[in-house]
């Protein structure tokens, strides 16, 4: 039977929820996750291809570095950060520039970049305040007049996933085949599991954005003008310009 998303009823602090249901999960599934993240989405690709030569930017929550190589080497420069060391290792292995960092607290000076992208990341922050802080960080690190592109999972989805329209905070399953495990014997599973040939299910915490919520979040954080917003591939997205 296919694993279904669950409503989030976890009694954990926000930091603990992110730690157990985002950070630890990505570290476990990194290689398998990376294998499934290879095709650049058109809206993001277009945004990156339209940047002028000489642009320097940040990919916040860069994952396996999918977007770090979209532009030809030498044309623009992108550096990525991700909270998952396992994913950052994959980026580095691919020759990209990246660091381990939390999106709530970026290691960059104010206004350092011409642009920043954060693709399918901020939905992993477990409270409205933390999501606002993540958006504020994305904006902080770009210069006045610079632009940001943010994608976040939508509550209203057309694809394979069935989300309850009344439940925005969910745990989404990830099935890790036994053959793709990062460290097959090192994680304690349920008692008696040991090195079985079974696949393992992980749950990732998501806050699904309802229509207009992403725009409202940007307006609440302020200091920016919304240039474009839309829906693409089960995500709401926004392009905003820093004032």
């Amino acid at each position: 039977m296919k694993e279904q998303p669950l409503a989030d009823t976890l009694q954990l602090s926000e930091a603990d929820k992110e730690d157990q249901y985002v950070h630890q999960v990505y570290d476990e599934i990194a290689t398998h996750f990376s294998d499934t993240r290879f095709k650049a989405w058109p809206v993001i690709e277009r945004y990156l291809l339209e940047l002028p030569v000489g642009s320097v930017g940040a990919d916040i929550g860069c994952g396996n570095g999918k977007y770090l190589g979209v532009r030809a080497t030498g044309d623009i420069f992108m550096m990525g950060t991700d909270r998952s060391k396992a994913l950052v290792d994959i980026c580095a292995h691919r020759g990209f520039e990246c660091q381990v960092s939390d999106g709530l607290d970026l290691p960059y000076r104010d206004g350092a970049f011409d642009f920043a992208i954060s693709i399918a990341v901020i939905h992993h922050f477990a409270s409205p305040e933390r999501r606002a802080r993540a958006v504020a960080e994305v904006l902080r690190v770009v210069r006045s007049g610079g632009s940001v592109l943010v994608f976040a999972w939508a509550l209203e989805q057309n694809g394979r996933r069935n989300f309850d329209p009344n439940t925005q905070d969910v745990l989404v399953p990830w099935v890790l085949p036994a053959s793709k495990a990062q460290c097959p014997a090192s994680r304690g599973g349920s008692p008696g599991e040991g090195e079985s040939a079974q696949s393992k299910v992980f749950h990732r915490y998501y806050h699904l954005f309802r229509k207009s919520e992403l725009q409202e979040l940007f307006e609440q954080v302020g200091g920016c003008t919304v240039i474009e917003n839309g829906y693409d591939r089960d995500n709401w997205y926004i392009i905003a310009q820093k004032i």
Partner: protein, 124 residues
């Protein structure tokens, strides 16, 4: 980690806010590697405003890398400058070592070219 990246980093420990101290981070016990990269002069000239030149100058001095003290008036015509800039920011990789904050003393480690910029809970 390339030097262009280092030029964007600052210490982000809570209450470490003196801009003269938290940036640039000071290198300690570093192993460098130079890796050739194709030079794009248009990129170099256009991206100059992103570089904090005093910080880059200070850092390259610490690493014994040659770089002019100031940006020339016509960088696009200055072959020597462009080559020095390109080598410094795009071809110089810090593979191992750490970055220290002169303000609060925090040490950010670099392993296999990857900086760990995470902070402990009390530092956020």
């Amino acid at each position: 980690m390339r030097l262009i990246t280092h030029n964007m980093l600052k210490c982000h420990v809570k209450n470490c806010t003196d801009p003269d101290k938290q940036f640039p981070l000071r290198f300690k016990d570093v192993q460098l590697e130079q890796i050739d990269a194709e030079r794009n002069d248009e990129f170099l000239v256009r991206m100059l405003p992103r570089i904090d030149w005093p910080a880059l100058s200070k850092t390259t001095k610490e690493l014994d890398i040659i770089l002019p003290e100031t940006v020339p008036g016509n960088p696009e015509n200055d072959e020597e400058f462009l080559q020095a800039l390109h080598t410094a920011i795009l071809e110089t990789h810090i593979k191992q070592g750490s970055m220290l904050c002169d303000g609060c003393g925090h040490e950010y480690k670099i392993t296999n070219g990857i900086p760990n910029m995470l902070l402990a809970e009390h530092e956020i």
